[in-house]
Subunit: 203 residues, 2 copies
């Protein structure tokens, strides 16, 4: 099996960190998404959403969507802890993973794509929605900081897939793409971010 990815893409990095944390190695094929390597008819036929990352199994089955790929590897290797262990933990991990994704990461993606026009060769942009999305990202950050003021990780005292999503949200989307000074502004996010950055899988 192999993963099609664009190494610098935050979704590809989420899968990469997840796999390192559970100790699974998989072959990779690099596609340069900025140059449109994923827009070929062959790739679009294989991939339901047309995006990277995509996992291709040896029988030709393909699985797109970051969290779906992580879920497959967790179940396949039996290392499912990052999705929670009890029913309540599984529910809470899913809740936080989704909230960080929708209110954080995806709002940030919409901000960046609509403001920068980086993919204006393949999608219509609405700059006013980019501005609004950036505001929503800024409104979400205090909620994340509050949660991390009460907990070592996003969901209680254990690392979960929600931390991986939040790590890419803070470092890649806020700090780098949107130039929001999160770490300078939010002390609890900063302490948590540094603790994650020290883990081998996050480097």
């Amino acid at each position: 099996m192999k993963i099609y990815e664009f190494a610098t893409n935050p979704s590809s990095r989420r899968v990469g960190i997840f796999l390192k944390e559970i100790g699974v190695e998989v072959d990779r094929v690099q596609l340069n998404v900025r140059e449109g390597d994923n827009l070929t008819p062959e790739y679009q036929e294989k991939s339901v959403n047309g995006k990277v990352p995509m996992l291709e199994l040896d029988d030709g089955t393909t699985i797109s969507e970051t969290i779906a790929i992580c879920r497959f590897f967790a179940e396949h290797s039996g290392k499912t802890e990052l999705f929670g262990e009890t029913p309540v933990e599984k529910g809470k991990v899913e809740m936080w993973q989704r909230i960080v994704e929708f209110d954080g990461l995806y709002a940030g993606f919409q901000a960046f794509r609509n403001l920068s026009g980086v993919y204006s060769d393949r999608e219509r942009c609405v700059p006013a929605w980019g501005e609004e999305s950036k505001l929503r990202v800024q409104e979400f950050l205090p909620k994340l900081d509050k949660q991390l003021s009460r907990n070592d990780f996003v969901v209680g005292d254990k690392l979960s897939v929600a931390d991986i999503t939040a790590f890419l949200f803070v470092g890649f989307v806020c700090e780098r793409a949107l130039e929001i000074d999160v770490l300078e502004t939010y002390p609890h996010i900063q302490a948590w971010y540094q603790k994650l950055a020290d883990r081998p899988a996050f480097q």
Copy 2:
């Protein structure tokens, strides 16, 4: 335990259909979201995202987010089939559930909220993004129809949580809120929709 919901809200209906399909009954508390019943400080303190549906356990633990609530009940009751059974099935269900949600349901929510201004008392609207989101919904529908031309359900030959999401997307969001004639236009979606509508849990 009890679920706070707004019975006509599509996310609350998704949880309701899921629970009927797995045969679990739970007490409900109705909140009128349109009138702002979910905006009280007490509710906002309990709920991480401030929305309905929200599950409250007897010890006070709360779980928000539709899919997180479904996941909790699946694990709690041991009836996890709607999330898939093998690692590959689990990956494919998660992939389709997410694609239908992002490219369908949530694009539709963004279209409706930004165009209608239904929640303009509590969020800033960008009509141009509403128009763009409605176009994206219309571009997604042929993909869903193609998938249903090859499969009895969204993911192969078995009902999954992705069908529940897609059912609300087609009926509630497209047909009702956005006035898009999906069933008249897409024959494979129509056949699948009718098959689901005949199941007791979907009525």
